[in-house]
């Protein structure tokens, strides 16, 4: 403890000293020198502020002012060095005159940047792997982004970002790098400050400095065991290189509305009329469920007695404007001994759905300290705390078949009064003949909420030592801890009939509703010991090597309990309930991973690049003998613009150019359960003499040779910088083949009733694609501007599978076949809607009547069956083949403007869900206005939909319902104004930027459903948000 104390005091002292020196240093300049001044401009003659001017080999330095003017004392003959992060460094020799002007070339950062790679940083020019970087700047933090995963959309070629819902707390996007490589977990590995397995959605966006997306084998291979799906490296801010402590405050407030929503009909008599029409196709009028009198009565009395004859607009009741607020305060600084970054953030999201709220608080402290000249230490700490409230897993719906309310939104009929404040009762069905199971969503979204809190503490520390020049030993230790608690205590409620003034039979939540408590807790530890060596010999040979030993360990436990019969409905802790009916559950699991990693980089003459990597991983998931996987990779690069013999030809237009090729393999063990490879007996209890008796069964056949799934990646990349690197282009071709895909083995049906199919390494998936990133940056007069575009194309093919694949086979709901993409489109060919009986007779017999969809008899066998479906080899239902993004910005004086377009193409899916069903149930169906206007009828022959209640074939997956899911989205538009510093005078305020930002402003798509980005879903209704935000970014 005293040691730590020492350290802190020392640190504080040094900060104070440094600050003191920093402010006083100009006063102690050498007096015998001459004072010179000048103006620094860019190539177009515009003044450049904030350029550091130093006298070479001295400590004398100054900075240019707003007008580019500097004043410094220097002797004649001394060399002045002009430098800044965004310009190329230049120098001039002090002459006789007192005015020394200079113009600086603007640096094009793309190729000169230092890029964060696994266990270190590398110059972008020397990279041989395929790495894309995103710098999290004010343009990103100015967007109303609930998390960084959704913020990555459209920024990185080859990274597919899919937003499936706008639900607060569940709005993390699905990330996929370079196509679906496995039918197991295909999420990229997220590494934050060296710690793998961090939840990307809980990171404070404001804390992030850069994000590197490692796409090929070489860049990712040091994370080999779990990098088969690529790696997303996130580096948080540190005070490194800072000279002055700066304090920043950011606030971001947004209102959110849906991009698009369903149009349910708030008109019960009309909905009942539709029920009649739908039933009329096969029911005699006398047997219709709803009588005309019922409908007429409702229509008349609905106008005067909304309590007893409601026409509820559910969307109006259960939706609201969303709100997003994010406030963040941070401070950063450093000196030659230590650096720090500290931040605290608060995020508050109110979803579009009532009672869907998410709050998160974040705190981060990053600190580095130079112990000795050759020794550093540091800690990083991040804590976050969240509170999440929601009704159903997907907000309005829940896909789990066990949740009987999960699919009920389609039964939210307009003829139910949501709630009557006077009596305190929730309404139920009232119309004669209506199904008493119709749904009151308001009751569910008010009374049956899950409340979840989660705390995470992620801490890591390191110590490095450079005993001899070039050799550094580092020890890292990290611990991620989480604790999650959720509880339910649904409020009892019963359906009330306001017409008869009595409770209906439907009990929404019984008076004995349980209290349910669930606790998930666990931790993950990481220990790395690494050696780095770097040397340059004979001037032109640069070698660096890395060796690393790593141990990772996971521990997770769950405990849950419940008790029925609360003492009082407002109480919600377990002890506040009777003990007669209770339930408990609990378990834990652990996993270990041991890795040896090596990497060698060799750069010769600054133009020939070579990198070799290997990683050996041992995982506790496999049986001894199969635990270790070896994943090597190699890459070469050639900076051909550095070749003298090419210079004369290229110099005029091509500033930089590099060709790189990498090949290697990456592993994945996510498809195997922690204890799956262990011979165990599972509990299967029985009842003997009226009490539970223990029973054990053997459910396992162990595949003793099961091992790692491997993905081999070939990447060929070309990086070019034209016209002094104002135009840059980066083009990559890749071929990713996953072999040894871990799959359940093809078990005989004689065994599968007793044993879980042991997994086996069979199956092969190939993803081949090309991606490009092009950007242009320049300056016209006072206007800085830039445009960058990225595009990627991926082709996915299933090449191996261990089971017989029959025609029409599916795996996990996805259509599969050899040499076809995962979940390709497989559809009947619709001819159109039959208008007349003649149309029906002219088509192949298929049980159709006028108003039904007619399908083609593709194989001409005179009947329509599964064999008449057509496969589309190039179109997937789940994901597009092509993604593109277009970004632009311009800045003039304090005004900046940025826009961002993003889109995708190559995906088609069926628009068939619970809410556009033409064969809806004959009672309790919440019809939409589409149901009123679209269905075919004799009076509406141009109807866009087939008739109501027609042939069951009308709702099968035919091209009639197949929509092109391509879209172009105006993702973000941002206009900001940075108030000139001088206006603040001595307030201490350094900078203030005020910006307005609009997210998901416009979507262009021919898709008829909710949103073309969402995954195909029969049920999910949660729209994607459109947000308008106001941002303040304040610096002290």
């Amino acid at each position: 403890m005293p040691k730590l104390h020492c350290l802190r005091i020392n640190y504080l002292l040094s900060v104070v000293t440094l600050l003191f020196l920093f402010f006083l240093s100009p006063l102690f300049s050498a007096a015998q020198m001459k004072t010179i001044s000048g103006i620094v401009t860019d190539e177009s003659g515009n003044p450049l502020p904030d350029i550091t001017v130093t006298v070479q080999n001295t400590k004398t330095a100054t900075v240019t002012n707003e007008k580019g003017r500097y004043t410094i004392n220097a002797a004649i003959g001394a060399v002045l060095v002009f430098s800044a992060t965004n310009t190329e460094t230049a120098s001039l020799v002090v002459g006789d005159q007192s005015e020394h002007n200079i113009s600086l070339k603007q640096k094009i950062t793309a190729l000169n940047d230092v890029v964060v790679v696994a266990y270190g940083r590398q110059k972008k020019v020397n990279l041989v792997g395929s790495v894309a970087t995103v710098n999290v700047d004010e343009k990103i933090t100015g967007r109303p982004l609930p998390n960084i995963s959704s913020g990555l959309s459209g920024l990185v070629p080859g990274l597919a970002v899919t937003q499936n819902t706008g639900m607060a707390g569940r709005n993390g996007a699905v990330l996929l790098i370079r196509g679906l490589g496995t039918s197991n977990n295909s999420n990229p590995l997220v590494v934050v400050d060296g710690m793998p397995d961090v939840d990307i959605n809980r990171i404070n966006v404001n804390d992030i400095e850069t994000i590197s997306v490692l796409k090929d084998a070489t860049s990712a291979s040091v994370y080999g065991s779990r990098a088969a799906n690529g790696v997303i490296l996130i580096t948080t801010k540190s005070g490194k290189g800072m000279r002055k402590t700066s304090i920043n405050f950011t606030s971001n407030m947004a209102i959110e509305v849906p991009t698009k929503g369903f149009q349910f009909m708030a008109d019960y008599p009309r909905a009942l009329t539709l029920e009649q029409r739908r039933s009329a196709t096969n029911t005699l009028p006398a047997n219709l469920l709803f009588k005309k009198g019922t409908i007429d009565q409702w229509m008349a009395l609905g106008m005067i007695d909304p309590l007893r004859y409601p026409n509820t607009d559910w969307w109006d009741i259960i939706m609201r404007n969303g709100a997003f607020q994010n406030y963040n305060l941070s401070a950063t600084g450093g000196n030659d001994k230590s650096n720090f970054f500290i931040s605290a953030g608060m995020k508050d999201e109110q979803g579009l759905q009532i009672n869907n709220n998410y709050n998160q608080y974040n705190a981060r402290f990053n600190f580095d300290y130079k112990v000795r000249n050759n020794m550093n230490t540091g800690v990083k700490f991040n804590g976050n705390w969240s509170k999440f409230i929601y009704a159903l897993e997907e907000g309005f719906t829940d896909p789990a078949p066990t949740n009987t309310a999960g699919f009920d939104m389609q039964y939210a009929i307009a003829g139910i009064t949501p709630y009557d404040p006077e009596t305190g009762y929730f309404g139920g069905v009232m119309a004669y003949g209506e199904d008493p199971q119709a749904y009151n969503p308001y009751m569910v979204y008010v009374n049956t909420l899950t409340r979840q809190t989660r705390q995470e503490a992620n801490a890591s520390m390191y110590w490095d030592w450079t005993p001899i020049k070039g050799l550094t030993a580092t020890l890292d230790y990290g611990l991620n801890y989480y604790n999650q608690f959720s509880w339910n205590a649904n409020m009892p409620a019963q359906a009330y009939n306001f017409q008869t003034k009595s409770f209906g039979s439907r009990v929404y939540v019984g008076p004995n509703a349980p209290i349910v408590n669930n606790t998930n807790t666990g931790y993950k530890t990481l220990m790395n010991a690494r050696l780095n060596y770097h040397t340059i010999f004979k001037k032109n040979h640069d070698i660096s090597a890395l060796f690393l030993y790593s141990e990772e360990y996971w521990y997770d436990r769950f405990q849950g309990s419940s008790r029925n019969d609360r003492l009082f409905p407002t109480l919600h802790e377990i002890d506040a309930a009777l003990t007669d009916i209770q339930g408990t559950g609990g378990n834990s699991s652990t996993e270990g991973l041991k890795s040896y990693i090596g990497r060698v980089n060799y750069t010769a003459f600054n133009k020939y690049l070579l990198e070799g990597n290997f990683r050996v991983d041992g995982s506790s998931k496999f049986v001894p003998g199969q635990q270790y996987g070896f994943f090597p990779s190699v890459a070469v690069g050639w900076r051909f613009t550095e070749e003298n013999f090419l210079r004369p030809f290229l110099d005029k237009f091509l500033t930089t150019g590099k060709l790189r090729v990498s090949y290697g393999s990456l592993g994945n063990n996510s498809g195997i359960g922690r204890y799956e490879q262990r011979a165990t007996l599972a509990a299967n209890n029985y009842i003997i003499a009226n009490s539970v008796t223990r029973g054990f069964v053997n459910t396992k056949l162990i595949n003793k040779v099961l091992s790692w799934e491997a993905t081999n990646v070939l990447d060929i990349g070309l990086e070019l910088g034209f016209l002094r690197s104002r135009l840059t282009a980066e083009i990559d071709f890749y071929d990713r083949v996953t072999t040894g895909l871990v799959r359940p083995s093809d078990l005989s049906i004689l065994l599968s009733g007793a044993f879980n199919a042991p997994r086996t390494n069979i199956g092969q998936v190939r993803n081949r694609g090309i991606e490009g990133n092009f950007s242009w940056r320049d300056k016209i007069g006072n206007i800085n501007y830039g445009v960058s575009a990225n595009v990627s194309y991926n082709k996915n093919l299933l090449e191996g599978w261990n089971e017989f694949i029959a025609r029409g086979a599916t795996s996990g709901g996805a259509n599969i076949f050899l040499d076809m993409p995962w979940n390709f489109v497989y559809a009947y060919q619709a001819i159109g809607i039959a208008q007349t009986w003649a149309d029906v007779y002219n088509a192949t017999p298929q049980g159709a009547q006028p108003g039904d969809i007619l399908r083609k008899d593709l194989n001409g066998d005179g009947r329509i069956d599964g064999n008449d479906q057509k496969a589309y080899p190039n179109i997937q239902r789940d994901r597009p083949t092509t993604y593109f993004g277009l970004n632009g910005y311009a800045a003039w004086k304090g005004i900046d403007i940025a826009f961002f377009l993003q889109g995708s193409a190559g995906r088609k899916d069926f628009w068939l869900n619970a809410f556009n069903n033409v064969n809806f149930s004959t009672a309790r169906y919440a019809a939409t206005w589409n149901h009123w206007y679209n269905p075919w009828s004799v009076e509406n022959r141009d109807g866009a939909w087939p008739r109501l209640g027609g042939s069951g074939n009308n709702t099968v997956a035919s091209t009639f319902w197949l929509d092109d899911m391509s879209y172009l989205r105006f993702k973000n538009l941002q206009v900001g104004y940075t108030i000139p510093k001088k206006l603040f005078g001595k307030t201490g305020i350094n900078s203030l930027r005020i910006a307005g930002s609009a997210e998901n402003l416009l979507t262009i798509s021919s898709f008829r459903g909710l949103d073309p980005e969402k995954a195909g879903n029969n049920n999910n209704l949660y729209p994607i948000n459109k947000g308008y935000s106001l941002v303040f970014q304040l610096g002290f």
Partner: protein, 619 residues
């Protein structure tokens, strides 16, 4: 001072690091033992282990039988509109699931939908093989000598294995047969089907083996006894006899033989006779009818009703059962969920009686069928509720077989509603007025609520009349075979061999007495056919909802008799109001009938195993 401090810290750190690297941070990092599952190395040592192994087998076998009531949907008197089973969960009925659950339990077109049942029945076979193998190993290794406990365990395992194969052959005919423990897929991947006769002999052997080892009376409720082995062996022989008598043309290679039929009927009768006479078994409450309330009241229900509530658990009539546990055991049955409506703990009414069953209940006064009920729509006909023999007139249901009130509910019948484990009082059933308000004799009620009934009747059988258990928390011990069934099978077997016999007639009359019906009239026992019809009538009424009827129709080859021959108009199923919600076998092809008589061998397995042949109508 400070320097030393840092330096020494550093040296210690490096040393520590070195030691860590040498020994590894975490001992056995790559060896993480499971926390809730048991290593087999420590198991199979004691009698308690063997018993626990057997219990695991029982628990795996139970879900292949305890929803057999769905099978009644394949016959004419019960509608199974869907199932409550949870996909992928064996205990919650996955054996009764297919990708197309809608058609599994309709009267026709179901034969291709039972791959899961096939799979899980083989699961039982594997589990049984595993228990027998390990117990024998315990005995041979001398760790545990041949004790009665271990012998009984082997007997029970053999009984369950026999039951699994019996169900397999009664649905698919020839099936692959194996009794060894399987360690890898290749051991069974290429198995061909064993001819039904051979499988039957092996099942006979298993039943005999079980019979030798089982106790006369089960030591505890939930375990098997000698009469179970004997009754099941009798039933197997009765089925074997039926196939030989009536033929099974859809099963290739099976040649019916009249001689084999007679021999099997005789042997079946002998087994049944032993069950009936040698173990002092009696019908529930000695077969007394008990008390009954008039239509519209349900304070007193006949004894037959209570036979299908947990009150009958452990009763000698229940020869072989699978037990269930109540609240909190995670081993409940879902009879209430499937047989009653929303008014009963939010139940779903997956199974309901068809209109046509009502006329099957005979009159107490004559002991024969009454005049046919007349469907009437009370919303259009003001006299519907009072017209004589109107299906919506409660009075039409008076003077009937007690088993009618015990089994079904018609308009204005009452049952105890329940919500949140509390009774909500009596709920009147009134067709098409779901959860409506009604005043009966001055008392306000909310009517029975269900969206699952389209006939005008719901079940009372299997629905508890007391609150306290959820719809999935039933603790009823499901009977696989019960004494009444054995009586009727005995009567059938002896009738086949030698026509109506006095002891057989007495047994049928005992069953009729349960419904308070008079003994069979002379005309009903005058001929072999007349007595067969009387036995069939009793099987329909007595065993409804117990999963027997569709198997009977198939072994009797009676589908054409019931629904009409191929190409005929088929039959409507109607409701008490006269609507015709469904029609079956309209202009049905020969192939459709054939496909109802034998099930389809799972094609996914045939894709992998070239030795596996397909049944004729499924080629």
């Amino acid at each position: 001072m400070k320097k030393i401090n840092f330096f020494s810290t550093f040296v210690i750190a490096i040393l520590g690091c070195f030691i860590i690297l040498q020994t590894s941070c975490r001992k056995n990092l790559l060896d993480q033992p499971p926390t809730t599952e048991l290593s087999p190395d420590v198991f199979w040592k004691t009698e308690a282990d063997a018993t626990a192994g057997l219990m695991g087998l029982y628990a795996s076998a139970r879900p292949c039988w305890d929803r057999d009531y769905y099978f009644d949907g394949q016959a004419e008197f019960v509608r199974t509109r869907g199932i409550s089973a949870t996909a992928g969960n064996l205990r919650l009925g996955d054996a009764y699931q297919s990708s197309n659950t809608g058609g599994m339990f309709g009267p026709t077109n179901y034969g291709a939908l039972f791959d899961n049942m096939y799979k899980y029945l083989y699961g039982v076979v594997n589990r049984a093989n595993y228990v027998i193998f390990n117990v024998e190993k315990m005995q041979s290794e001398g760790t545990s000598a041949s004790t009665p406990v271990l012998e009984t365990i082997k007997g029970e395992a053999a009984l369950l294995r026999g039951m699994a194969y019996f169900k397999l052959i009664s649905m698919w005919g020839d099936v692959p047969y194996f009794t060894n423990v399987v360690y890898e897929n290749s051991a069974v991947a290429q198995l061909a089907r064993t001819p039904i006769g051979k499988v039957k002999d092996s099942i006979m052997a298993d039943f005999a083996y079980a019979f030798d080892r089982l106790p006369v009376k089960a030591s505890q409720l939930g375990r098997a006894s000698k009469p179970a082995a004997l009754a099941l062996r009798g039933k197997l022989q009765l089925y074997w006899a039926s196939w030989n008598k009536n033929g099974w043309p859809e099963l290739e290679g099976f040649t019916p033989s009249a001689a084999a039929a007679t021999a099997a009927f005789t042997a079946a009768a002998a087994d049944f006779k032993s069950v009936i006479n040698d173990y002092s078994l009696t019908l529930y409450l000695n077969g007394d009818p008990g008390t009954i309330d008039p239509p519209g009241k349900a304070d007193n229900l006949p004894n037959y009703y209570y036979l299908f509530t947990p009150k009958a658990n452990g009763n000698p009539e229940m020869i072989m059962v699978f037990t269930h546990g109540g609240t909190g055991t995670s081993q409940g049955e879902e009879l209430m969920r499937d047989f009653s409506g929303r008014s009963h703990e939010g139940s779903q009414c997956w199974v309901s009686p068809r209109y046509e069953i009502a006329d099957r209940y005979q009159l107490l006064s004559t002991g024969d069928f009454g005049p046919k009920l007349i469907p009437m729509n009370p919303t259009t006909n003001p006299n519907a509720r009072t017209t004589l023999n109107s299906a919506v007139n409660p009075a039409s249901y008076d003077n009937r077989d007690y088993r009618m009130k015990s089994t079904i509910q018609w308009d204005y019948e009452m049952s105890i509603g329940m919500a949140s484990l509390q009774s909500t009082g009596f709920v009147p059933f009134i067709y098409q007025t779901w959860a409506g308000n009604v005043t009966i004799n001055g008392v306000k009620y909310i009517t029975y609520n269900t969206d699952g009934c389209n006939s005008g009747y719901v079940f009372r059988k299997f629905v508890r009349n007391y609150a306290g258990q959820g719809r999935s928390d039933g603790d009823y011990a499901w009977p696989v075979i019960r004494l009444a069934d054995v009586y009727l099978m005995y009567a059938e077997a002896t009738n086949e061999v030698s026509g109506p016999q006095t002891d057989a007639i007495d047994l049928v009359n005992k069953i009729r007495h349960r419904g308070n019906l008079p003994p069979l009239a002379a005309t009903k026992i005058a001929s072999k056919q007349a007595f067969f019809d009387a036995i069939e009538q009793e099987r329909i009424v007595e065993l409804i909802g117990e999963g027997q009827r569709s198997f009977d129709l198939r072994r009797w080859r009676a589908i054409e008799r019931v629904w009409g021959p191929p190409g005929s108009p088929g039959l409507f199923r109607i409701d008490t109001w006269g609507a015709q919600p469904s029609r079956y076998f309209q202009n049905a092809s020969d192939r459709e009938y054939q496909q109802d008589y034998i099930f389809r061998i799972p094609p996914s397995e045939r894709d992998k195993n070239p030795n596996l042949t397909q049944n004729i109508p499924w080629r």
